[in-house]
């Protein structure tokens, strides 16, 4: 039925876990199927890039975009789906903040390639590396060109909403589907553009069932140093570096419930400019020492500072990566040919998508300029025109 809203889902540099999380909707997936016309979902159904290219601009009502931007094909699809979609959702940690693959921004591309193609089991005396275009037998074999850095979706194109999580919990995906469905029926309004959907506004600590008492940590301990993890006491109080204090709630605090620390996959809580900075603040506040030497000793317990604080969010952090990788990317860019596709991209922003309030039904590709946060009162929520007539 053509009157049904059109839905797309895509994976760029992703693991597929987001698709699995959506498939785990089970019976609710049938609801999605009856409510939406799924026009593009490579994980599940046959549709080609060319089919998407042939669609009119803004003809997809909502696109769930998973995965980071690691190569030129990912980037092309980001632009393509932005142009074709009324609402573009950064779905899951990779698209919204870079996720674990964002840790690659601590390394240069050469280091990444060497680790793969010059390691101990690789038999490669000639130092062969995959190349974007390889001539053989008079034809050319092409593969996408790796980008020097992993970028988040909103660093490449403007994003309307974010659904956090690695992967987003299936129950929260149901909530989002319901909300969008209602908005399309005209029985609910969507929150302002730039909002986070399918998650709370506080932190994992607020939904964690563990008991919290003292606020002083005498020593951080690694899991290999702890024989028994107390099943009810706050993990941070037990000295386990738990990212709960800086991480958005919404997952149900599943990991702490399983005696594993929160690793931060739901990203920053509301109003946080830089996830790692917020977590550093939280950890520094509970260190039980006033003397520099003693503070150093306690902080030695955090084995991998940049990994601890930016495990999922490095690519979306204020600095975005390690110095050498950033430097190499910069130099690489300086030599990029003028007029390369990258030259036409809208600018990414520091921090998260600022709220603004365009009417989604007039959102077209020409509107893709990031907007400053308005200084006035709260912007009105975007509205979707009900599809297929009045509310059903």
């Amino acid at each position: 039925m053509s009157a049904k809203p059109r839905l797309a889902m895509y994976w760029a540099a992703a693991c597929g876990g987001c698709d699995i999380a959506v498939l785990n909707l089970g019976e609710a997936l049938v609801e999605v199927g009856s409510r939406f016309d799924v026009v593009f979902w490579p994980a599940v159904m046959d549709a080609k890039y060319a089919d998407v290219e042939a669609m009119p601009d803004a003809s997809i009502d909502i696109t769930l975009f998973c995965g980071g931007i690691r190569n030129d094909e990912n980037e092309h699809l980001a632009h393509l789906l932005r142009a074709k979609s009324k609402i573009l959702v950064a779905f899951g940690s990779c698209a919204s903040e870079g996720c674990i693959p964002g840790l690659a921004n601590l390394s240069t591309l050469d280091e990444i390639l060497d680790a793969s193609y010059a390691n101990e089991t690789t038999d490669n005396p000639d130092g062969v590396r995959p190349v974007p275009a390889w001539r053989e037998n008079g034809v050319t074999l092409r593969i996408p060109t790796l980008a020097p850095l992993l970028r988040t979706l909103d660093q490449v194109v403007p994003v309307d909403y974010t659904v956090p999580g690695c992967p987003p919990e299936t129950k929260r995906i149901e909530d989002v589907v319901e909300l969008v469905g209602k908005a399309l029926d005209g029985t609910a309004v969507l929150p302002p553009r730039g909002s986070v959907l399918g998650a709370g506004h506080s932190t994992v600590c607020d939904e964690c069932a563990r008991e919290r008492n003292v606020k002083k940590i005498g020593a951080f301990r690694r899991v290999t140093e702890i024989a028994t993890i107390d099943p009810t006491l706050c993990l941070l109080e037990q000295g386990i570096p738990c990212n709960g204090p800086a991480t958005r709630d919404g997952c149900g605090a599943l990991c702490p419930a399983a005696a594993a620390p929160c690793i931060g996959c739901y990203g920053p809580a509301d109003g946080v400019l830089d996830y790692g900075a917020r977590l550093m603040s939280a950890f520094a506040s509970v260190v039980d020492a006033d003397e520099p030497e003693r503070i150093e000793v306690i902080l030695d317990g955090i084995a991998d500072p940049v990994g601890q604080f930016y495990r999922f969010s490095l690519a979306s952090s204020l600095l975005r990566g390690g110095r050498e990788a950033m430097d190499q990317a910069h130099r690489g860019r300086a030599s990029a040919p003028v007029g390369s596709p990258a030259a036409n991209h809208p600018a990414p922003r520091l921090g998260r998508t600022p709220p603004s309030a365009p009417m989604l039904d007039v959102l077209g590709p020409q509107d893709h300029v990031p907007q400053r946060a308005p200084t006035g009162p709260e912007p009105p929520a975007p509205t979707l025109e009900p599809v297929g007539g009045p509310a059903r």
Partner: protein, 496 residues
């Protein structure tokens, strides 16, 4: 004129794989290339991370089989510290892993590849999916498939903390155990899964083995490659998923050897080609001879069929019965009584069901172990961390994680040989054989190529983009034939 065929992209691998076919001057297939266009760099950026984080970090390599990476990483991390986790911890990990096998093999058989047979290879593509299976063999099948997946994921969540990307395996054991109530629920699910596996094996008999045409297709040589096989076996030489030694068997059934995971470097080497990001592992002792089969070529296969071929049998009774039937039907032993191998790739689907039974029986066996609810689930390190290898059988092949760390347990090197990667060369060969059989004089004979390539490819259950598994399952392809100037000569397309 050199012509080039592109099958691009492969749906459910879109952005994650494509096939190129070259024709020579006379229009015959010169060679094919299967390309994987992605690299995320885990082997590099895990360096510098604490080794205890690897089970959660590497789970993000694949959202379809995070459990496999979680387990391989946990085992490698155990080895880095020279730790042997308490028995209960190992039972819990294996229980989680067996439940994962049930869910994963179910998805593959019913949604991805099984429909080729259950609905029929000649059925319209739009029927060759789970919905088609339901139409053909009954409504309750769909419900059973959803329930098998649901029960599998519930067990994974109970033990692993989350449905996708589990979080409870750590060096030396587990962060938490299970309660008696949880155990009971798992046992109930396990028994249901055994019934489901038996139902699936019966379905195979009734729907496929009873049809001589299908039997001929499975037994025919169109999809056969005489390669080496790799798989993990337990101390009795039986098929093992979570732990054991890795056995390699030659195409003629002769054993090349068995190795402990830590010795993998003496056995496996990887070749780099400039036209794909994925490497091609091969047997170091035999050597790389190109994309060819036979005893002189180091190309090997690792997947359900390979595991059955290398093992002396299954580790559980009902799976053993199914295993015996499998070989009696497809490769009866000769007068010398020696086991003969099954080289026909399409038999992998049956092998997968044999494994489904073992995994289901394992769930029951482990859930009823008197020690499964013991609180003794953690060991602490007694030695300075240095180096470790962890290997499990992922559903798609032998998965190896190899770590080196400094004295604080911070990673200094990471090497990963991922399940599907093992089969990269054989998949390329199967695609080439399919292409050769249907392309002559520069022309493709009908839609044949699409079906042939599709089935050849699917038998391996490939997971390049990590998520070829999905519901409902089809593998529609597009073949574009271009002349040397890049003009499209022909365009064949198969829709779902």
């Amino acid at each position: 004129m050199t012509a080039q065929l592109t099958i691009d992209p492969i749906t459910r691998l879109e952005g994650h794989g494509k096939i190129e076919i070259f024709l020579d001057d006379s229009g015959e297939v010169a060679r094919t290339a299967f390309q994987v266009p992605e690299l995320r760099g885990f082997e590099r950026f895990c360096v510098g991370r604490p080794v205890e984080e690897m089970p959660t970090l590497t789970a993000r390599i694949c959202g379809v089989c995070p459990e496999a990476h979680h387990m391989a990483a946990a085992k490698a991390a155990d080895a880095v510290y020279g730790m042997d986790p308490p028995r209960t911890a190992k039972l819990l990990r294996e229980l989680l892993y067996s439940a994962f096998y049930v869910a994963d093999h179910t998805t593959h058989f019913y949604a991805l590849s099984g429909p080729d047979f259950l609905v029929g290879p000649d059925a319209p593509v739009e029927d060759r999916n789970l919905l088609g299976v339901i139409r053909k063999v009954g409504m309750d099948v769909g419900g059973k498939v959803i329930e098998a997946r649901r029960r599998g994921h519930a067990i994974i969540e109970t033990i692993g903390g989350r449905k996708v990307h589990p979080c409870t395996s750590v060096p030396g054991g587990m962060t938490k155990g299970i309660t008696e109530a949880e155990r009971g629920a798992i046992e109930t699910s396990g028994r249901w899964m055994v019934d489901f596996a038996a139902f699936s094996l019966d379905l195979w008999d009734a729907a496929i083995m009873a049809n001589p045409e299908y039997v001929e297709m499975i037994r025919g040589d169109a999809y056969a490659h005489e390669t080496y096989y790799m798989g993990m076996v337990d101390e009795s030489g039986k098929v093992a998923f979570y732990d054991g030694r890795v056995r390699v068997v030659a195409p003629d059934g002769e054993m090349l050897g068995e190795y402990a995971p830590a010795e993998y470097g003496e056995w496996i080497a990887e070749r780099v080609e400039p036209w794909t990001y994925l490497k091609f592992p091969y047997l170091k002792k035999v050597g790389w001879k190109g994309f060819v089969d036979g005893k002189d070529s180091g190309v090997y296969v690792a997947m359900p069929l390979a595991r059955l071929n290398v093992a002396d049998g299954m580790a559980t009774p009902r799976a053993q019965e199914a295993y015996e039937r499998f070989y009696a039907t497809l490769a009866p032993a000769g007068p010398d009584g020696r086991k003969r191998l099954v080289h026909q790739r399409l038999a992998a689907h049956w092998a997968r069901l044999v494994e489904l039974m073992q995994a289901a029986e394992k769930v029951v066996e482990l859930a009823t172990d008197p020690e499964i609810t013991s609180p003794d689930i953690r060991a602490l390190p007694t030695q300075v961390p240095s180096e470790g290898v962890g290997t499990v059988e992922a559903p798609r092949g032998t998965l190896t994680h190899h770590y080196r760390t400094d004295e604080r347990g911070i990673l200094t090197s990471v090497n990963l040989i991922v399940g599907t990667t093992n089969n990269h060369a054989p998949i390329a060969m199967s695609i080439e054989r399919a292409a050769r059989s249907v392309i002559h004089g520069g022309e493709v004979v009908g839609q044949g190529l699409l079906n042939r390539v599709e089935m050849a490819f699917r038998a391996y259950d490939p997971c390049f983009g990590c998520a070829t598994h999905a519901l409902p399952g089809q593998m529609p392809l597009e073949v574009v034939i271009r002349d040397s100037d890049g003009n499209v000569v022909d365009d064949l397309r198969q829709h779902c």
